[in-house]
Amino acid sequence: MPSPAFDTVLIANRGEIAVRVIRTLRARGIASVAVYHAVDAGAPHVLAADRAIELESADPRAAYLDVDLVIAAAQKSGAHAIHPGYGFLSEQARFARACEQAGLVFIGPRPETLEALGNKKRARQAARDAGLPVAPGWEGTPVGKDGAPTKEAIAAANQLGYPLLLKAVMGGGGKGMREVRSAAELPDALAGTAREALASFGDGAVYMERRLEPVRHVEVQFFGDGEGGVAHLFERECSLQRRHQKVIEEAPAARMNTALRKRLTDAAKAIARHVKYRGAGTAEFLVDGNDEAYFLEVNARLQVEHPVTEWVTGLDLVGLQLDVALGRGLPKDLERAAPYGHAIEARLYAEDPAHDFLPQSGPIAALTLPSGPGVRVDSGVREGGAIGMDFDPMIAKLSVWGEDRAQAVARLQAALAETQVAGVVTNLPFLRALARDPEFVAGRTVTSHIETSMAPKWRAGRKAQPAGPLLAAAAAIALAEAPAALAATGAGDDGVQAAATPWSTLGAFRLGGDHAG
């Protein structure tokens, strides 16, 4: 097969991941083309790219999900390849296929691979074929023509035991997933999950899985050359989650032993080899207290949390994706003997930890991001910008490296203390508490830790706090002087307002464009 060559790459994404991909392209001397909807005009990813092409669409989210618009932009710009980032079109087989048909290199797995792994039932089958244990589940037809659960589904649910999980067959990354606590909840939950799945993924198929608890979330980063050659880049642990979405990730896992690492990395490579995987992928597992591991899904793209793997391997994962896409294959000796040190990433989100982590929107009136030894920031917003309601409300990924986990934890605490955001409510105060949580510091967290233990304690402690002297003084000064001061310092009477995006722009929020990993 002739090696494809390209010197211009279009990034079919926005925000921090688009900026991240552009950085590698620039370092490689490859020209970058950004795409953007009008609401993102002047955004960091647009300014970072060598060129930018507007995607004209009434709906901002729909613009980044429009295969035809993105392909047309690539052709117009003379790009030879498309990097899809994560979320949006990154795991859409029809997009990968459309790229191929348009003569563009899709920087990711083959369309057939995306089809096989995007369907969770088929992914579970592929995992079983590769000899991997999967979480106990039932993959029959759960809902009859009358809309009620089938007899088989009710019997299977009883056998699996409650609580159990309903998952969209075409879902993934924690989306299209619902917990069912009792048989009485099953009919409504099945109907609701199917409805959401149809709306989010265009397919209402649902299957059932036993809810394993308590477990850790451990995932293996792997690369494939597309011809059966595969390599792993160790594991990441992402047990700290809320709403089935990751908040803090680390590499290597907090508690790992050689035998478990070998089992997990061998399993990830087995499934990658089985599908002759091309590019970067992640195999996700749940690991119980006896180190029993269950395959969850493959994320067929670059993950949000890839920086922690880059920290402990010294590799540029986007660079490796480019190498594979250029037909250069994988470097020899890609696999290392052991991870170098320890890395932790925290996701700074505009969301309210006091109110069930609900997404927030508003102006970024002030933003201070950390730096220093062993500190990395990936961000796609800046001071003066805003977090709207159209997209995932991530502000930045803060990642730190330490010689060991203890140093990484200390650096994370320091980096979070250095970070400041004003204008939009964020999870920053919660992240600071999480970084000091004894269970996290000891590396003993499980996936339920935030929602069952840490967040309720944090909320209770926060409510009990009295207003301090600083707040009382600042409040009194604000009331007495702010009208004049805000006008005099250039903010103007209508200057920096704590106003929200107009309600009329509300779109389908977080509907598939974001992701757990």
Binding site: L358, A366, L470, A474, A478, L479, A491
Partner: protein, 150 residues
């Protein structure tokens, strides 16, 4: 004045301070300079951000601050811009701890606002009616303790 819906005494004297661009307010407290960021949040109302936490600040309403037992009254504020989906109480309603007072909708998600304690609804915030869009920080419900219950 009211901070986060609770009455708070104004400190006197006020500490040394200066303003700079972007609503930055630098105060000297116990010999140390600390920064707050002040943003307008509507007529007579400000957001004061300290260490990345939002506080909503407003002056006492005429007659509103004269009630005794400072800090007992409770104003529940909208945590985010939202639409009022349901309003389940009216002025004068007796409420129990944890009772749902109203339901907001934001970003296609419902958020129930529950009572932080037993008491009586003194008033429903201005403009808080079913179907209304309320900005973050809007006072939704003001509670007072039920005198008989104490």
């Amino acid at each position: 004045m009211r901070v986060d819906g609770k009455a708070l005494e104004e400190p006197a004297p006020l500490p040394p301070h200066r303003w700079s661009a972007g609503g930055r307010l630098v105060l000297t407290i116990e010999g140390r300079e600390v920064e707050a960021i002040v943003l307008r949040a509507g007529a007579g109302r400000y957001e004061v951000w300290i260490d990345s936490e939002r506080h909503v600040v407003e002056a006492d309403r005429a007659g509103g601050g004269s009630r005794g037992g400072g800090g007992e009254e409770d104003a529940l504020v909208a945590p985010m811009p939202a639409k009022v989906l349901r309003l389940e109480v009216a002025a004068g309603s007796a409420v129990e701890l944890g009772q749902t007072l109203l339901v907001l909708e934001s970003m296609k998600m419902e958020l129930g606002i529950t009572s932080p304690r037993a008491g009586r609804v003194e008033r429903v915030g201005a403009g808080v009616v079913v179907g209304a869009i309320v900005p973050a920080g809007t006072v939704l419900i003001e509670l007072v303790p039920e005198p008989d219950a104490r």
